[in-house]
């Protein structure tokens, strides 16, 4: 709840650039929207001119991705058609890590500045990252079955992603608890701050584990990508990046709305309690839990 932040007025400063660094255009657009003075009527949804533009661009680039990824680009010599999963898999893995980075950054900033926007951004990053984690795991294992002959292998990257998914799930479970909002934000921020260091340690150890223990790992196929396949991958990065930005901005605004709704509740509760004091009969008073 915004009002419980020790410093600063309860209204809190405007959110600092949602989706900061998500995508160049997106971050400025979101930032402008966040800093606009509270004049005029906001819409009854989380959309804005900027997100509509991003949304249409995302849809267009997704169509382009289908065109390039599924039709124009050739099949790989070794991997055949399943290489087309890579155009989704590699970008989503990248944005998964971007989301985690966002959460860690925002958690640190929240612990430092205690402005509610950072708290909202931390939650946003983790949740969007979890969606991309599921996409990464899905496409990764579907790719692994025909290529490696198994859905799952204890490959370093796969294992890291699995542990990371568990870490994100734990973080979000902590966030969902119905407890004092400020305390919850603080606890979540500590977990969020440790997210990236944890990922680094897990990655180091797993990488090491596989290389030391098992010399005959499945040969990783990293062909040099070129031509239309490279274009398809780039389109994948663009399309999923726009999707990431769109999701991040919208989710950020949902988190922001949640905080504001809490604050409105506070004002109402405060007014109700004062009215109760003014004319209340003590026998009718309800003891708070």
């Amino acid at each position: 709840m915004t009002a419980t932040t020790p410093a600063g007025p309860p209204s809190g400063p405007p959110p600092t650039a949602p989706a900061a660094g998500a995508a160049g255009a997106a971050s400025t657009a979101g930032g402008d929207a966040g800093r606009r003075p509270p004049a005029g009527a906001g819409p009854a949804h989380t959309g804005s001119a900027a997100t509509r533009v991003i949304g249409w661009l995302a849809l267009a680039s997704l169509a382009l991705l289908v065109l390039y990824g599924l039709i124009i680009s050739p099949a790989d010599r070794e991997m055949d058609d399943v290489v087309r999963l890579m155009y989704v898999h590699v970008p989503s893995a990248t944005y998964l890590y971007l989301g985690c980075f966002l959460t860690t950054l925002a958690s640190g900033m929240w612990l430092w500045k205690r402005t509610p926007g950072w708290d909202a951004l931390a939650e946003t990053g983790a949740e969007v990252a979890l969606v991309f984690a599921f996409v990464t795991l899905l496409t990764g294992s579907l790719w692994g079955r025909p290529t490696w002959g198994t859905y799952w292998t204890w490959d370093a990257r796969l294992t890291t992603t699995a542990v990371l998914t568990a870490l994100l799930a734990g973080y979000l479970a902590l966030r969902r608890l119905d407890v004092d909002p400020d305390a919850r934000s603080t606890r979540a921020a500590v977990v969020g701050l440790l997210l990236v260091p944890n990922v680094v340690i897990v990655n180091r150890s797993v990488e090491w584990w596989r290389s030391l223990h098992q010399s005959a790992t499945l040969a990783r196929i990293d062909p040099t990508i070129e031509g239309d396949m490279l274009v398809a991958l780039m389109v994948g990065f663009l399309a999923l990046g726009l999707v990431f930005a769109w999701l991040t901005i919208h989710r950020f605004r949902v988190a922001w709305l949640e905080q504001q709704a809490d604050r409105v509740d506070l004002d109402a509760a405060l007014a109700a309690r004062r009215a109760e004091a003014a004319d209340g009969d003590p026998h009718e008073k309800v003891t708070p839990a």
């Binding site: 005029g40 949804h45 898999h89 025909p146 919208h250 605004r253 709704a261």
Partner: protein, 47 residues
């Protein structure tokens, strides 16, 4: 035959991705609309 199974993996991967991301987007949009009703317009600082 092999190409056909590959097409199956492909379809599962792409459609699964679309379902995951699209479903999440819908959930976020609906949450936003529902919450917007409880927040005064001046706090919805976007348009």
């Amino acid at each position: 035959m092999i190409a056909l199974t590959h097409a199956g993996y492909l379809a599962a991967g792409w459609l699964g991705t679309a379902a995951l991301v699209g479903g999440y987007a819908l959930v976020v949009l609906r949450r936003g609309r529902r919450l917007s009703r409880h927040v005064p317009t001046e706090e919805r600082r976007w348009s």
